[in-house]
């Protein structure tokens, strides 16, 4: 087990280095941050631009700049933002929890809804409840998330004034973003749970369990669900990783002070240190989530634990 974890951690390091290298090279192709900062300045000379670049540390060789950003990840010191010079770790330490919490509540909501519904649909395959659940999930899938978000805001924030339209300020502020993300995730997840459950229900051990005379609930929740768990955990794990990077649009609509907002602004402003830090941390998180998923298998399935 320890060897396995070490191997995976090494893989994680490799992924982070590879991703950050691509990002470091790519963002430098977008142009000169000094020009960006001095936009609107009159009489700016090449000497002025040089001074600004010097101040940003852009005159160092690329290798040094890149190495610094890697060391930054280890020491949690990513330098200062090019926009206003705020230390990047201050920005990250506010944005990362915001994004993690939103991703977590969204996924949790989706699991709470989609697991029972998916099982119900699988059990009543072909009957009206299955049809209804599948149609609802299709409708859910067809909503563009920004549209859904805007509608929720119009209804609950502007018309009824029950919820804050944007920002992160206490429990109420989580409701709409979580609903938006949750509904869209649920639409996919219901179908996934249904398919996985159907496959499981067709296997021989379920037939045996039923033949033993176990109650249908015991068959479903003790035998079938446990065996479904592995593909589902894998999928939910991947989804969580995807969510971290994928809630940019939602963060923008709800003015959520998360990693997506940070990355979006950083790209627009050619803010190398911020973008680099965001990407490195997100890719690290995704790799780690996958690792946790792999470890979680062991708890669910004794066969994997033994290997």
């Amino acid at each position: 087990m320890i060897g396995f974890i070490l191997k995976r951690l090494l893989q994680a390091a490799f992924v982070v280095v590879a991703v950050s290298l691509v990002v470091a090279v790519a963002i430098r192709m977008t142009g000169d941050p000094a020009l960006m900062i001095s936009q609107g300045a009159t009489n700016i000379t090449e000497a002025d631009l040089q001074r600004i670049r010097e101040g940003l540390g852009l005159n160092e060789p690329f290798v040094v700049q890149y190495a610094n950003s890697l060391i930054g990840l280890l020491t949690w010191n990513f330098g200062n933002s090019f926009v206003g010079g705020t230390p990047v770790n201050i920005l990250i330490s506010r944005a990362l929890p915001a994004t993690l919490m939103l991703a977590f509540t969204s996924l949790l909501l989706s699991i709470i809804i989609s697991v029972p519904l998916g099982i119900r649909a699988a059990v009543s395959r072909g009957r009206w409840s299955d049809q209804l659940i599948r149609i609802c999930s299709l409708v859910g899938l067809s909503f563009p998330n920004f549209w859904l978000a805007t509608m929720l805001v119009l209804l609950f924030a502007v018309t009824f004034r029950l919820l804050p339209p944007s920002g992160m300020s206490g429990f109420e502020s989580f409701i709409m973003p979580t609903l938006t993300m949750g509904i869209i995730l649920t639409a996919t997840n219901v179908r996934l749970v249904r398919t996985t459950m159907l496959e499981t229900l067709n296997s021989q051990y379920i037939m045996v369990a039923r033949a033993k005379g176990l109650s249908e609930n015991k068959v479903l929740y003790k035998h079938a669900l446990r065996n479904c768990a592995i593909p589902l955990i894998t999928y939910f794990g991947l989804q969580f990783g995807g969510l971290l990077g994928g809630i940019v649009v939602i963060e923008r609509v709800f003015n959520w002070p998360g990693m997506g907002t940070l990355a979006f602004d950083a790209v627009a402003a050619r803010d190398y240190p911020v973008l680099q830090a965001v990407i490195m941390i997100l890719s690290l998180m995704i790799v780690l989530v996958n690792l946790i998923v792999d470890i979680a298998y062991g708890f669910v399935d004794p066969r994997i634990r033994k290997e």
Binding site: G31, A41, L56, G85, R94, V153, V253, F254, N255, L262
Partner: protein
């Protein structure tokens, strides 16, 4: 209980519940402003973003002040006089002013501010180049300073009213780190800093010892909201009192106008838009073609139909508020027949093509460009529209002369001086002028720069505008309005054309 009574009881309960939720969320005396951009630092020498000034104008003072009426008035300097033919300006400083941290404001603070701006620390930021006409600051006595200039700078008094020239407290700045000052600003303005949450909000409170008219609201909060729909939703929900430019797009004007609690303030802004020409290559190298293309486009209709009337057609690349604006200079009239004749004279065959480069993120201008293309097709010119990512366009495509025959340009210097625009757009070798080189125009531009005689300088600026219009260096489109969405509970809010807000007079009900 009869069914009707049950219904009534239910309705009352519902109504009560609603009032509980709609009761004002704030204590009296708090104003919340939505700003589209967080400048990331509150240090005056760090940034060029207009939305820095939208907030920081409440924290800091300059030697001079220019409010929404565009007049330069005394601020931290009570008076000033020009000496040595404009190469030295003597400022008499206001007495009894203190910074928010208790430090006294005096000549030392002025010298410290400019030494810092023009020295190493200022050099790392973008503001320094604006103030390089200042060579030395000399302390005459505790409340008198002389600014020595390398050459007369007619725009200096305006520039002293904002941005890099805001006076900072010497002791506080030198005792703390640069980073600390960025995040914890201290000035002499009507509001003092309380807290700053990056990308979220800036909180200020009224400063009791302010030297001028003290703030009417006790708390002032800026929230950073980029997405227009989100900002307007917050305004409608009553959680934001004012949405400042550049947030509200023309398309959302009806939403605000339809809401009984809100009002829209639309003021002339410094921002002007044009499609500039590649005057070096292709069919637009011919002045007759450039003129014909302008005559082919009905700009009045574009402003009316696409911009909902929230703009004015312009004849030269400046706002009516800018120094050097000539009301006598009229836009070329819409004349498609005349355009066709001119094109034929220039030997342009029907079916000739031009490419129009536009900013990819600007939906409103995208529509304008399509209308322009449609008008051009009516005189036989086929225009293709090429959207380009904003920063690539501004920092690479335009400066390196890689644009199509026409390209979108917006401009709006806060100094409201046509020199700022014209020099950058028309002088040979300037970043924004990749194609044209006209010795006569260069000479005109250079000749007005050192003049302290305002009338003479204004005359030359007008001449420059006429000259540029005769050479048809761009297709001037319109001067857009600055749009503010305001909750009606806000009183005495004076929407500033340049978005530099000073909110001490504002009250909330």
């Amino acid at each position: 209980m009869s069914p009707l009574n049950i219904f009534r009881a239910g309705a009352t309960a519902l109504l009560l519940a609603t009032t509980a939720f709609t009761a004002p969320a704030f204590a009296e005396g708090k104003l919340v402003v939505s700003s589209p951009q967080d400048p990331g630092s509150w240090d005056p020498i760090d940034t060029f973003l207009v939305n820095w000034a939208s907030a920081a104008t409440n924290i800091f003072d300059g030697l001079t002040y220019r409010g929404p009426d565009m007049k330069i008035v005394p601020a931290l300097a009570e008076s000033w006089e020009e000496l040595d033919e404009g190469k030295r300006i003597r400022f008499k400083l206001r007495a009894g002013v203190t910074f928010h941290n208790g430090e006294p404001f005096n000549a030392e603070a002025v010298k410290f501010t400019f030494d810092r701006l023009l020295g190493d620390e200022g050099g790392k930021g973008p503001q320094r180049s604006n103030y390089t006409s200042i060579t030395k600051v000399e302390i005459i006595d505790d409340h008198t300073v002389d600014l020595h200039l390398g050459a007369p700078d007619p725009v200096l008094l305006t520039k002293l009213a904002g941005y890099g020239a805001m006076i900072v407290p010497p002791k506080y700045v030198s005792e703390n780190t640069e980073e600390f000052f960025n995040l914890n600003p201290v000035g002499t303005g009507p509001f003092k800093f309380v807290s700053y949450d990056p990308k979220v909000s800036l909180k200020l409170e009224a400063f009791g010892d302010f030297w001028g008219d003290k703030a009417k609201v006790s708390e002032l909060e800026y929230r950073f909201i980029t997405e227009p729909a989100t900002a307007v939703a917050e305004l409608q929900a009553g959680r934001v009192d004012v949405v400042i430019p550049p947030t509200i797009p023309v398309a959302m004007v009806p939403t605000i106008e339809a809401d009984p609690n809100l009002e829209l303030a639309s003021v002339t802004s410094p921002t002007v838009w044009a499609l500039r020409y590649n005057t070096r290559d292709g069919i637009t190298a011919d002045v007759r073609v450039r003129k014909a293309l302008i005559m082919a486009v009905d700009r009045e209709t574009i402003v009316k139909e696409i911009l909902g009337g929230q703009a004015d057609v312009i004849a030269s690349f400046q706002s009516p508020l800018s120094f050097g604006y000539d009301p006598e200079l009229k836009p070329l009239p819409y004349d498609p027949e005349g355009a066709k004749a001119l094109l034929e004279e220039a030997g342009v065959k029907p079916g000739a093509t031009v490419q129009i480069d536009v900013r990819g993120n600007d939906a409103t201008f995208g529509e304008v460009a399509q209308a322009v293309a449609a008008y051009l097709s009516m005189v036989g010119v086929t225009a293709t529209i090429q959207p380009i990512e904003l920063n690539t366009m501004l920092n690479d495509i335009i400066p390196q002369g890689k644009t199509g025959a026409m390209f979108q340009q917006g401009w709006g210097g806060w100094t409201f001086d046509y020199d700022n625009t014209a020099y950058a757009m028309y002088h040979t070798g300037e970043k924004w002028n990749p194609y044209d080189s006209d010795p006569k125009l260069d000479e005109l531009l250079e000749s007005q720069r050192p003049l302290t005689d305002r009338a003479e300088r204004e005359r030359i600026l007008k001449e420059i505008a006429v000259y540029a219009a005769d050479r048809v260096l761009e297709m001037p489109l319109y001067n857009s309005k600055a749009l503010y969405g305001i909750n009606k509970r806000v009183k005495n809010f004076d929407p500033a054309p340049d978005n530099r807000l000073r909110l001490n007079a504002v009250e909330v009900q």
